[in-house]
Symmetry: C2
Subunit: 400 residues, 2 copies
């Protein structure tokens, strides 16, 4: 699915959330316990849920049924003994005591719609701050190398600022380099930003981003994580974080990445999740741009020059709110005469275009009986000379 | 037509050229006179040749026939009076006196095959230097801004050097900036380079490239132009030069170009000529890379990171001579075991791949029942982890 096919909805949490706090507590506890169960990652959790329907169902299952699911022995043991329920109760207490903290579970209406759509979504999402407002807006992930160049840092800041100023929530991973610049750009525009953590939401990694994390919370942003409170920064957790970064977002923008950068993995995850992947080109002599250029060249990532290139791929109704309106059409204007210095082919194509009705490239190819590649060249030439304008969907109109 | 569909042949000049010098002289004179006729550019010449078959035919035509072709009055007048024939004779004398100079005409077997294929090819091509050896090799055009950055200059030099070292002839326009760097890169590699001029082949523009032009001639390169001897640098002639640059080449590489750069026009001409268009990305904060990034984003130009990206689009037999050979297949090697940390989807795709038989992406999509975009993501992930290799035509094999 491309972004433009995605139906974008705000989460209908208010209608669906079940009001009785005691019941919610019990239900929550099962989910949190499931998330804490040793040997149960998102993949095993998905297998369990497919079989038993809910966290409560999992904990009500017979040991023999569990054993048939090829789980690790310690997982079967833990579920059968419900040995994480006490820790889960404590977790809920601690969450209640933490200002602005909450936990969303998979069968909760508040769980982010886009994240639920990925394969094996995390069963719990710990949140802190203004997560509802942040995730209700269209979200874009900006990611890239920790060891980035000044160019990468500037571009990350600029794109985040430009997007956030137009109501887009910037999702990133609170890491050094590109991530931090993305969060800061959103804050500079007084926009929204969400930091997805590989630790618990009560931890901050790296330590020097403690102030940045506080600022995100204070200024209308949010922290989210799938990991229980107190989870320290463990290398193996960060790939899970990356799945959430791309999973929460309509699209992921790779700002800068060297050849073997972990950010390329996030881009791959976004592709696997059928989300749009964008990439910022850079000098081919810069090792920090190797990965981003490669992604455009070999993996079909969309090249980004400005924030508009990202918004243009949003679902049309959202894009329309952010992109400058097309010139008014109401009053008829005298059509511009064909310039006299057009080539034969240009004249042919020009004659097929109007100022009012966009013509699609396939229709033009048929009407002009030109091969599409040649036609593309002619259209591009007319566009370069500012005679025509390209609209989304490879449609073309004459300029007034 | 894509490059890879082009049949690439050396010009069969030796078989076709007609040996009797007197006759050649007469035939040549007609072509040169036609090329010198006022009001007859390549487009009018093409109309005349379509109607009368050859330059001799044009000059044998009745005035009334000429008038029916909607030529400019001065063109009709000049052709009817054959008033350029004396100048053409002098031109031939001067060419004979100039070391290594010659003129190729449209019906001559020596006329470059690729150039003949474009719409309205120039009727004469003045050449100087080792043009046969240069044009017998696969040719690539490198073009870009005159006012370029150091980055652009370095990249032009580097790509030209890398390509020329592998036997590719570098075509460019002898202009300041990117063009000069391209010629110099080819010379550095002791390779071949052709400067296409907007002046006569006895003039050099800009003046400060006089030494460069001599060096090109001395070191096995060539100068070519469609314009008569002594033609001074006139702005309106340079677009004609650009058509020849792209027309002689299998593909055109745009190295650096600002928003309204003339080099974008050369890229457009290459597209209209159905030749491959390549573009070198650069920092989005550099105005010199605006045009090159835009061409990748909006006009389907192929992104270039290294010389291999250009050669990979050559016809397969030529590319094979330049690209590193695939590892030998003869001896059977034990297949690599599937890595244990693959995802479900990765395992599925891995199982469909072999080390010997390339699998095409559409076949993989069908066999794996995965949508192509998702499959692309999975394949890209396997490629990133160095487990598989992509071959031309979106085919994939396991790495050994």
């Amino acid at each position: 699915m491309r972004i433009s096919d995605c139906e974008f909805k705000s989460s209908p949490q208010s209608e669906i959330r079940i009001p009785h706090p005691a019941f919610i507590g019990i239900r929550m506890r099962d989910w949190i316990a499931l998330n804490m169960t040793p040997g149960v990652g998102p993949r095993a959790a998905a297998r369990l849920l497919e079989r038993f329907g809910s966290a409560a169902g999992v904990f009500g299952a017979l040991r023999s049924e569990l054993e048939r699911l090829r789980l690790r022995p310690e997982a079967v043991e833990s579920i059968a003994l419900r040995d994480r329920h006490e820790a889960a109760s404590e977790e809920l207490e601690r969450l209640r005591a933490m200002e602005g903290a909450d936990v969303l579970v998979l069968d909760d209406g508040a769980y982010p719609t886009l994240l639920r759509e990925i394969a094996d979504p995390p069963v719990t999402l710990y949140v802190r701050g203004a997560w509802e407002a942040c995730l209700d807006a269209p979200c874009v992930a900006l990611v890239g190398s920790r060891r980035c160049s000044t160019y990468g840092q500037n571009v990350s800041l600029m794109l985040a600022r430009d997007l956030a100023a137009r109501g887009v929530t910037i999702i990133s991973g609170l890491a050094r380099g590109i991530d931090a610049a993305a969060h800061r750009g959103a804050l500079e525009a007084s926009g929204r930003t969400v930091a997805v953590l590989g630790t618990g939401i009560d931890e901050v990694y790296p330590r020097e981003h403690k102030r940045l994390a506080s600022e995100i919370l204070e200024r209308g942003g949010a922290l989210v994580s799938q990991f229980p409170l107190g989870t320290p920064p463990v290398a193996e957790n960060f790939p899970y974080r990356n799945r959430i970064i791309s999973g929460l977002s309509l699209g992921t923008v790779l700002v800068e990445a060297a050849e073997n950068s972990g950010s390329l993995i996030t881009a791959r995850l976004a592709m696997e999740q059928n989300r749009e992947v964008f990439s910022v080109p850079g000098n081919i002599t810069s090792r920090n741009s190797f990965g981003t250029n490669y992604l455009i060249k070999s993996a079909g990532a969309k090249l980004v020059q400005t924030w508009q290139d990202i918004v243009a791929e949003f679902p049309p109704d959202i894009a329309a709110l952010m992109l400058p309106p097309e010139p008014k059409k109401g009053r008829r204007v005298e059509p511009v005469a064909a310039p006299t210095d057009l080539s034969e082919n240009e004249r042919r194509v020009w004659a097929l275009l109007s100022t009012d009705e966009p013509a699609q490239i396939d229709a033009l190819a048929e009407a002009s009986r030109m091969p599409v590649q040649e036609l593309t060249g002619v259209l591009f030439g007319l566009e370069l000379r500012d005679l025509i304008r390209q609209l989304p969907g490879r449609c073309f109109v004459r300029k007034l």
